[in-house]
Amino acid sequence: MSDISYIPQDNEARFGDYIALLKPRVMSLVVFTAFVGLVVAPNPVHPFVGFVAILFIALGGGASGALNMWYDADIDRIMRRTRSRPIPAGRVTEREALGFGLALSGISCVMLALATNVFAGLFLAFTIFFYVVVYTMWLKRATPQNIVIGGAAGAFPPMIGWAVATGGISIESVAMFLLVFLWTPPHFWSLALFMKADYDEAKVPMLTSTHGRTVTRKHILAYALVLAPLAVGIGFTSIGGPLYFATALVMNALFIKGAIEIYGRSEAQAEADKYAVEKRFFYFSLIYLFAHFLALLAEAGLSYLGLGIW
């Protein structure tokens, strides 16, 4: 007698595949920025409630990632970078991912509302809606400004963290939103400059292919110039301080310098050194965002110790 199994052994979903559906790398950014948003808010949050809040914000972000993979499975099958994701690889079916994403969305919003306040829960629901419906379904395939819109979804977590503590929105939380929102386009377009071709095959309009690389370079510089005064300006709000101000000055000077370098290069020059400047700018942009939020966290720590200056 032998066992009969319809599911091929090497192609069955493992626990890790469901984790992969939650886009853990995107989640790490969500966790970090939401945590900072929660800590810098003026109202203290019980540590356990804070932990649970971050957990469910992360789960909500993960759920929207799963819904994104469900909707974008056709694109993911075409692009080399995403071909090994659970759905294109055939380990998880599309309907399974849809159910998984919807269930986790519901659980995360309801649990966040119960653990903290209803406004935070609704805000998380809105963020999931924005990322899945507005970005993934409506705009990603329709406009080369998709990165800008998608950036908004990624910029909501610090606002949700703030809402967990305060139950509302204020100038500081909007400023943190704008910091991530304006940072996203130069970050992704610098990636698009050296990651070629994939998006064209999948027919996703990227600025590099619809308007050309020179225009993309111009856009990177423009966003860097708009971002800088905002990033430095946060230093003068209630969550800022001299340490943040100094960090922002240095980081933005370097960011603008990198953007000018990118702007001044022709494609031939970039080809010649294999996009070294663009790659450096991309990795620096990660440090840039991390440094800003880390400085905000440090300011919150200093004022907690009674060392806050303004």
Partner: protein, 68 residues
């Protein structure tokens, strides 16, 4: 081969089932922990439920107060 309780399917899916078990236990721990925190801090535990609850009404005058 004898019929056993652990078919090949069970052993194959062990990691998935164990993972789900850990997640569910974690969820139980979170709900319990939240309950402890909310009770300790004396958060509002009763909401409005279609008619005013005794605990939400103003205190009634005691007998001695009525006599005056």
């Amino acid at each position: 081969m004898a019929i056993t309780r652990d078919s090949e399917l069970h052993t194959r899916r062990f990691s998935r089932n164990a993972g789900l078990g850990v997640v569910l236990l974690g969820f139980v721990a979170i709900v319990f922990g939240l309950t402890v925190v909310k009770v300790e801090r004396g958060s509002k535990l009763e909401g409005f439920d279609h008619q005013p609850r005794v605990s939400e009404l103003p205190a009634e005058p005691t007998k001695t107060e009525v006599a005056k």
